[in-house]
């Protein structure tokens, strides 16, 4: 079977700061890294491949340096990697991002299973997985804590919601968004790291897609638009207490003992 894994490169330090004078986001010194949740998605794919014959294809959408994500994926055992990169793709919201992923994956073939991480550390919203499933017109499940069984036709999973653990069977093709706790990622292997450099990363740009209309991608293809960014308003606060550690402890205990 063919498994697609979506992985994103994000800033390592998840706090962006804004220069209040210039209104520019300061990202200096923020080394990019693989979104940690997506490592679990790859781990889930690798575990499936331990049990059933499968090819694991990793897709990442981002600027050229996002290729590092693919290299990391190779060093963990991915079979093929695709870098979805084009100036036309940048500035995309959930709608345009998921559409880009959909069209890009289409160029590489048909996938029985698509795996995503729960969310990104820079966006947090956990929406792209469901959006992608809708474009692909396949069933999907979020919050997957366990993949129990994979056959040629179906996958059995356990999902954890606020109050329940739900076990269900999804037919293939389908999309799953997995939780980190169920799929702690393995470390890259030295042997695979050494061969990773030799593997080819396939580049996908807008000209490779079946829909080449730039109005459908990136900022232009987004339905939402950031109208304004600003530092969060500071509110009036209670008087700040500072003093010796003893004094602080005493003061806190006074409140705690109530």
């Amino acid at each position: 079977m063919k498994i697609a894994v979506c992985m994103k490169q994000v800033p390592a330090e998840s706090r962006g700061l804004m220069n209040e004078e210039t209104g520019v986001i300061v990202r200096a010194g923020l080394k990019p890294e693989v979104n940690s949740y997506d490592l679990s998605a790859l781990e889930a794919a690798l575990r499936i491949r331990e049990n059933v014959p499968a090819e694991i294809h990793v897709f990442t959408m981002g600027p050229p340096k996002a290729e590092d994500v693919i290299r990391t994926a190779f060093s963990m055992g991915a079979d093929a990697g695709f870098l979805i990169s084009d100036p036309a793709f940048s500035g995309a919201d959930v709608l345009a991002t998921s559409y880009t992923l959909y069209r890009a994956m289409e160029t590489a073939g048909e996938y029985e299973l698509v795996l995503c991480g729960r969310q990104t550390t820079d966006g947090d919203t956990a929406q792209v997985s469901g959006a992608l499933a809708q474009w692909m017109n396949v069933p999907h499940a979020n919050w997957v804590s366990d993949i129990e069984n994979v056959t040629e036709a179906s996958v059995t999973v356990a999902q954890k919601t606020e109050r329940e653990r739900v076990r269900m069977l999804l037919p293939l093709p389908c999309l799953l968004s997995v939780e980190r706790e169920g799929f702690l990622p393995r470390l890259p292997s030295l042997r695979l790291k050494m061969t990773a450099g030799k593997k080819t990363v396939v580049s996908i740009g807008i000209k490779d897609l079946s829909d080449r209309d730039p109005a459908h991608y990136g900022l232009n293809g987004s339905a939402t638009r950031v109208r304004k960014i600003y530092p969060p308003p500071r509110t009036q606060r209670n008087p700040l207490f500072s003093g010796t550690a003893d004094a602080c402890a005493e003061m806190i205990l006074h409140e705690v003992r109530g």
Binding site: S36, A141, T161, S222, M251
Partner: protein
């Protein structure tokens, strides 16, 4: 073009979810600048008690997808899309619950429209535009987001972020049954309730660790403090990202909303996305060595100091007291 608002409602054994009441409350406010009616759509649920659960709510009509199975996001999304086709609302609000976050993006793609998830504030213009406000770039920057050309304007809101709607009067919204058009493809095998007693959302006393807590070993000290105080340990997103604590311990916009009687934060700066999770906390004591820390805006008792000096003293004193402060029953 109407200015109506459609709200995705959720029900459970205890009736309508609190998060649904919060959305309705917000929708009432959002209808003020431009008018428009409020509608609801609910999937599954207990057919017998549902009408009573809806009494007194300011909804014109509620669509009920009785046979829809909540674990199948594809099926549920299609039901909501059918509602959207019938009402053509200006705004569609969904709770940022596990269910809501599975279904919302599918609806957004089906309608080719914009969706902003986890809004901390919502505003409406007199022209009916929905201003979707949320922290961006990790949390120290706010963004005001709009959906210019497409409808409905979709937003999800986490439970506990907005205040509830108060029921008024006796009026029952019109009820309209929706049957599902096609079958979903997911087969349910079984459902088991999770033991929630240990969850941080249920705790009355919480000690929350943040970025200022440097090492995993230090968490032992804070866990100890939490126990001495009769509560549990929680954390901000930073520690979950570092892998020091699991996601269930996370307070914030992408974690849990908590409502303890007492929250003691240690080394938490208080980003907007963290603050969104503690709006319901009764008393907040914050320890941070940075006098400018944003958490101090919200803390009832802001303490500027070194947690590594203060916490051991707290533990020492609590142990000397020989008591746990208020054994809290869960």
């Amino acid at each position: 073009m109407n200015q109506d608002i459609l709200i995705c409602l959720e029900t459970g054994e205890n009736g309508l979810h609190a998060s649904s009441l919060e959305l309705i409350g917000k929708a009432l406010e959002l209808a003020q600048p431009c008018g428009g009616s409020l509608y609801g759509v609910v999937m599954g649920g207990n057919a017998e008690r549902l009408p009573e659960d809806l009494r007194g709510l300011p909804l014109q009509r509620v669509y009920i997808g009785q046979t829809c199975r909540t674990y199948d996001a594809q099926e549920c999304a299609e039901t909501v899309v059918e509602c959207v086709r019938r009402i053509d609302p200006s705004v569609l609000l969904i709770s940022g619950t596990c269910f809501g976050r599975s279904v919302a993006p599918r609806i957004a793609v089906a309608c080719r429209t914009g969706l902003t998830a986890d809004c901390t504030e919502l505003e409406r213009t007199p022209e009916g535009g929905l201003i979707q406000i949320r922290p961006a770039f990790g949390g120290d920057i706010m963004a005001r987001i709009v959906t210019d050309h497409t409808r409905p304007q979709m937003a999800t809101v986490r439970p506990g972020v907005m205040s509830s709607c108060v029921r008024q009067g006796d009026r029952m919204p019109e009820l309209c049954a929706l049957s599902r058009k096609t079958d979903g493809h997911i087969h349910l095998l079984d459902v088991q309730p999770l033991k929630l007693a240990a969850g941080i959302a249920a705790q009355k006393v919480l000690v929350a660790a943040g970025r200022g807590v440097k090492r995993k070993e230090d968490l032992v000290m804070l866990e100890h403090l939490a126990q001495r105080m009769g509560g549990a340990l929680a954390c901000s997103r930073a520690l979950v990202e570092k892998g020091l604590l699991p996601h269930e311990k996370q307070i914030g916009l992408s974690g849990a909303t908590v409502s303890p009687d007492l929250l003691l934060t240690c080394g938490i700066s208080g980003s907007v996305q963290f603050q969104a999770g503690i709006r319901r906390a009764k008393t907040i004591i914050a320890i941070n060595s940075d006098p400018e820390a944003k958490i101090f805006d919200l803390a009832h008792i802001p303490v500027c100091g070194d947690l590594y000096e203060i916490v051991p003293k707290l533990i020492e004193r609590l142990e000397k007291d020989g008591e746990s402060v208020e054994e809290v029953s869960l």
